[in-house]
């Protein structure tokens, strides 16, 4: 089953909608709550990254009996140094964004910790795509 959600850059009031919907779906499928929690943490973090850093993006969630594969494609500035972005605590967010409670680093290490597999592809000036995979069993 493929689910698809559009995300608008800068729309913080709607940030978390896709995570919320995917969470609801997994709950209705009786996925283990501990696994859902990992999905939600990783996905929410990644969704907010699109809102905070990119212009727009799409979240694709492929849900199967064995697990969930997430692909988050954004049009945005891209990440020049992925290795640095993966460093805990590293952040380029503006003061304004931080004041809204977002922007404490991209949380990429947090996504990685909660995923069974995690991959970033980015090209500067074009955008970033995240691949997150979490197994149900």
């Amino acid at each position: 089953m493929l689910l698809e959600y559009k995300v608008e850059g800068g729309d913080f009031t709607q940030a978390g909608y896709a995570s919320s919907q995917i969470k609801k779906t997994l709950k209705q499928l009786n996925v283990d709550p501990a696994v859902i929690k990992r999905v939600v943490i990783a996905l929410y973090e990644a969704e907010v990254n699109i809102v905070a850093h990119a212009y727009r993006g799409v979240i694709y969630a492929q849900v199967e009996g064995s697990g969930i594969k997430l692909r988050l494609e954004d049009e945005g500035p891209g990440i020049p140094d992925i290795e640095r972005a993966m460093t805990p605590g590293f952040s380029t967010a503006s003061q304004q964004v931080r004041e809204m409670g977002f922007g404490a680093g991209m949380g990429l290490p947090n996504i990685s910790d909660n995923a069974d597999s995690f991959k970033i592809e980015s090209s500067v000036g074009k955008g970033t795509t995240l691949y997150i995979e979490i197994k149900f069993r």
Binding site: M1, G16, S19, S20, K23, T25, K27, Q28, L29, N30, V31, P33, A34, I36, K37, V40, I41, Y44, V63, E64, G65, F136
Partner: protein, 443 residues
Amino acid sequence: MSQTTYNRALEIMGDVCIGCSHCMKVCPTEALRVSQGKAKIHVDWCIDCGECYRICPNRAIRVMDDDFKQIFNYKHRVLLVPSVFFAQFDDSIPREKIYNIIGELGFTEVCAVEQSVDTLIDEVSEYIKRAPLPVISSFCPAVIRLIQVRFPSLVDHIMRLLPPIEITAQYYKRKFAKEGIKEGEFGIFYLTPCIAKIASVKSPVGGYTSPIHGVINMDFFYNKVYLAHKQKIPITRQIKINGELSSKGVLYPTTGGESMHIKGKTLAIDGMDNVIDFLEILENEEIEGFDFLELRACDESCAGGILSHRNRFLTAESMKKYASTIPDTHNLISDYKKYCSAVVHMDKIEPRSMVKYDRDIDAAIKKMEGARELRMLFPGIDCGACGAPSCEALAEDIVKGQAEISSCIFLRTLYEKRGEISLEEAVEIMENIWGKSRFDKKI
């Protein structure tokens, strides 16, 4: 013979229910449907919150309380009375008078439910130092059940300490034993403003067995007491009054009554919709830094309890006013401390799966995909004319084989226009949902 649907604490009386669907619209777990002109409860999904009971305009939902007469099976009969009960009465009726009537109605002893609160507050403060944060209070049984069913990932946050009623009941069990009264000779009864409490006493969570012998419906008992007061019945029996209670105890069941005693960052939220909203964002990991959450299913907490008949704001005000007239401590606190630390803990609370589609995940995904396609067909106005609370719920019911696409009144009309079903068939579908004799005018 009319059909009845049983549940742990609520029963729909088939002969009274007119299938008006008001209950179906307010159920927080979408556990109600209308078919054959009657409301039906999906027992596994029901959390006994009583929202359906509260809204039912025909009083067709019965509380599965215990028969009052059973109190006389015991020689010693204590009634544990919640502070919200006294707040049901006009301030002009003195407490002494209410106690005497309770005695005349058959109880040998009366005690405040919230007598254990002072001890519990200390236990909670200790507990949150070691528990996964935020700790969610275990006070409201409807909230516990809501979390079990709708927010299973949060069950580990529910405080594994017993609510005041159970601690006070444990204390009484011990007290009777100490006085040399044998098991079977004493009965501990709980006067409840809450339907979920009935279910929680009869099927408690957290590997616990309640010492409470019976639960008395507060709405029923209020009428009994008030009638006795109005009829000025003579008082012929003596009742032992264990009135020890602090202001903390009186206020505990009101909103903020728990959280005000907890050091750290706390929130007190009341009302089912408010609690659900908050649990959603808590589950999404959007909230950080809270130590303790007091969540109550009813607006104004127990003052707005399902079986509390008086206006909830007036009830809460009465409780606050009374609390301001009594000390913030009482004489049995050290006694409770001595005995209760050993009994106050309970085991982990298990989640209760709703099984929306199927236990098997592959089958569940398949059914869910089917339901998503069906939803595109439906108008999305959640009118409830199909007998399900929403278009989404109807789609779920259809893929599980529990309803038909033609249950939707809009699609049915289109099918009729296209000549795919006859007028007679359409009427039959409507009658299957809303009842055959519903449209017979009774003049």
